[in-house]
Symmetry: C2
Subunit: 230 residues, 2 copies
DNA sequence: TCAGATATTATGTATGCACATATTATCACG
DNA sequence: CGTGATAATATGTGCATACATAATATCTGA
């Protein structure tokens, strides 16, 4: 007897949804019925449906049954690039250059973002990332050295601040946002573009437990495109 | 005896990784050992570890065991917003206005993107999305009416093209990209911003099976920020 | 010593069962 | 006619077991 895998069941159900057999909002058969239909255990159907629910195609409720989502939650998975890997995977040579590195008490705006006391200083770093010696992205970052004192001793010539932090303070939570901004004089000079060029900006804050670790702004070269998959 | 859920095990393992007990790249105990340690079945540990692997924190290989990822794949989940919901959830009144709607043979650039034969025409729609009567986003879209003939009869005053398509042609694949562009005269006029303003652009193509359904460009008002969660 | 066959092992997953839980449907009672 | 208690039900999840599979480790023979 051939085994019926959860992949098969998942694919079969997906097909029946896509073909329109089960329309938008429709209730689909119960796990037990599907298990009988496909000749497998309920646990197998459960896993198939659970994965479909995670992917946003189907909505499940106890006692309420499973139904096809009216407005599927299209969630794009977007792999946050480690810049070096992104550049190297495109076949270019990665290099980075630390422009500024200092420890000081942040100005009030940054201090509020960092959620620091007034008398605590933090590290400020500006880095230029290059692909084949051409500017690729300009990075501005505050690091909470009160939480991560080791950061003060890092050799930023060997490894970029971003990469060191990813390796050393992993698995932290954070938020991520994207926007478009006009290049000011500093950005234009760093990225080698015109003042007022449209620049793609990525902002990221990283928390470990309740402490903000770092707040970063990454400004990509003109024409940069962020790709994602649905 | 209290049951030990996969959530508990997952959290416990996560804690031991975050605390540094298991460092980057380290091999963590086998499922059977963890099952004994936490007093639960191997299936429970399996689910916990499988989910951690899906989230990119851990790398699993048959016979090779499970190890903490050196460079965690930070994947942001990015909920693609249906614009109306995005605006309404911010407490504003949504309204949309169809600027252009025509059926014609696309120019060569669009035709290639749409992957259509030379003699096939497609629908072109320009829509302005408004929040509290202020421009929110400007949408340009081609729809393959050869694949979706019903689209020709849709009342775009009642429901936007985007929303109709999401409701009617669900569960399709596609690609998604983001970039920053400078506003040209048309965009500036539509969005009520200055020419050369930095505009956040989202491009999306949608496929059903092997047929391209629609190709869309969404240009957000100046200052728009796309939020994501890690 | 080295290549190829073989054994070992950790994860992958299907199954049957039991029970938990949330929600809906039903029913009894004022 | 409502309203609150109660029953029914679909999903959620844990457990023990069995076997599959991929990758590594070991052994064997030239």
């Amino acid at each position: 007897m051939a085994v019926v895998s959860h992949r098969f069941v998942k694919g079969a159900i997906l097909g029946r949804i896509q073909s329109g057999e089960w329309g938008l909002g429709d209730l689909i058969p119960a796990e037990t019925d599907l298990a009988v239909h496909y000749g497998c255990a309920r646990a197998t159907v459960n896993r198939a449906l659970r994965e479909l629910a995670e992917e946003g195609l189907v909505l499940r409720k106890r006692k309420g049954g499973t139904r096809v989502r009216q407005m599927p939650v299209r969630q794009a998975k977007l792999a946050i690039p480690v810049i070096r890997e992104q550049i190297e995977s495109a076949g270019a040579v990665y290099r980075h250059h630390t422009i500024t590195r200092e420890v000081r008490v942040p100005d009030e705006v940054s201090r509020k973002k960092l959620n620091l006391r007034e008398d605590i200083s933090a590290a400020y770093i500006e880095t230029l990332h290059l692909a084949d010696n051409a500017p690729y992205a300009f990075e501005r970052r505050w690091v909470n050295v009160d939480a991560i004192p080791d950061f003060l001793n890092v050799d930023l010539a060997a490894v970029s601040a971003n990469e060191w932090l990813v390796r050393s303070v992993p698995f932290s939570l954070g938020s991520l946002s994207f926007c478009a901004i006009k290049a000011d004089a500093l950005i234009a000079k760093s990225l080698g573009c015109a003042v007022d060029a449209a620049i793609f900006s990525m902002n990221r804050t990283t928390w470990l437990d309740d402490r903000l670790i770092t707040d970063m702004e990454l400004l990509f070269r003109e024409g940069y495109i962020l790709q994602s998959v649905l």
